[in-house]
Symmetry: C2
Subunit: 134 residues, 2 copies
DNA sequence: CCTTTACGATTACGCTTGTAATCTGAACGG
DNA sequence: CCGTTCAGATTACAAGCGTAATCGTAAAGG
């Protein structure tokens, strides 16, 4: 094939990862490489999917450049090409930008107000703040 | 009509608001009520949309129960039915859950690490923390 | 060898989203 | 009264997504 006219044929992980795809990525971030069957073991149970679904998602992620495949006998092993931290960072930034004009403090205020912060969270954040000030 | 057989026929804003729809909501959160034309004035410029697009988004939002309409002469005025803070809270929570296992501290750590926190942010967060501890 | 099986690849299909054109009916100008 | 115009409503349509069945083929077992 190779004739795919995608805008970023040769590039690393740029295209957006969907929600379902994200679940698959999580499995592979936890451990990699894994075969499709192994990924399914994890994910199919969590989300009630069937094998074909996982296959599709894996393929799409490969297409998007988010996963690499290594042949292993007659099957493939999948490995993430983008780091979890990069994904998480990107998503967080998107949210902060979309909802809080790019400022993180309002996000924090919101979480605080919504009582989405546990005691532990607060303690840890304080610790982080201390650390940052040094 | 009232015959909408959605799972939450009588409820406030439950259904998910898409990205494009969100832009429209923002315009109406900033000021409301507004007519379609007024919303378009704001949004069409920001996002390069045309009037019909805005109309569609407004309709979908009404369908979803996110906007109310008030007849005003031969047109409608649109008013948000869900508060911005509710939306923002929901989205934030979704993100924290999806990406950080529901704990906010890791999100914070991430933002800190990514240097997405300005001096001001940090100062304000400290202030908020102080307040919360009281 | 030939059949079963276990893969990845291909195809499918309905839903949502982004973006918009067209239709229809009411108001307003003459 | 009648045509023009300006609303909302209806329809459109391609792309992305969630979910999956089917196909083709290579391995593995008898």
């Amino acid at each position: 094939m190779v004739s795919r006219a995608g805008p970023e044929a040769t590039e690393g992980g740029t295209e957006r990862i969907s929600d379902a795809e994200h679940a698959v990525m999580e499995a592979l971030w936890k451990r990699s490489p894994q075969s499709a069957a192994e990924v399914c073991d994890t994910v199919c149970q969590e989300r009630g999917w069937s094998m074909p679904t996982v296959k599709t998602l894996l393929s799409r992620l490969v297409q998007k450049g988010a996963l690499a495949t290594t042949p292993d006998g007659r099957r493939f092993l999948y490995t993430p090409l983008i780091a979890r931290s990069a994904y998480v960072g990107g998503e967080s930034k998107r949210l902060v930008e979309r909802l809080f004009g790019g400022r993180a403090a309002p996000l924090f205020a919101h979480l605080a107000q919504a009582e989405a912060l546990s005691e532990d969270d607060i303690a840890e954040i304080e610790r982080l703040l201390q650390e940052m000030k040094k």
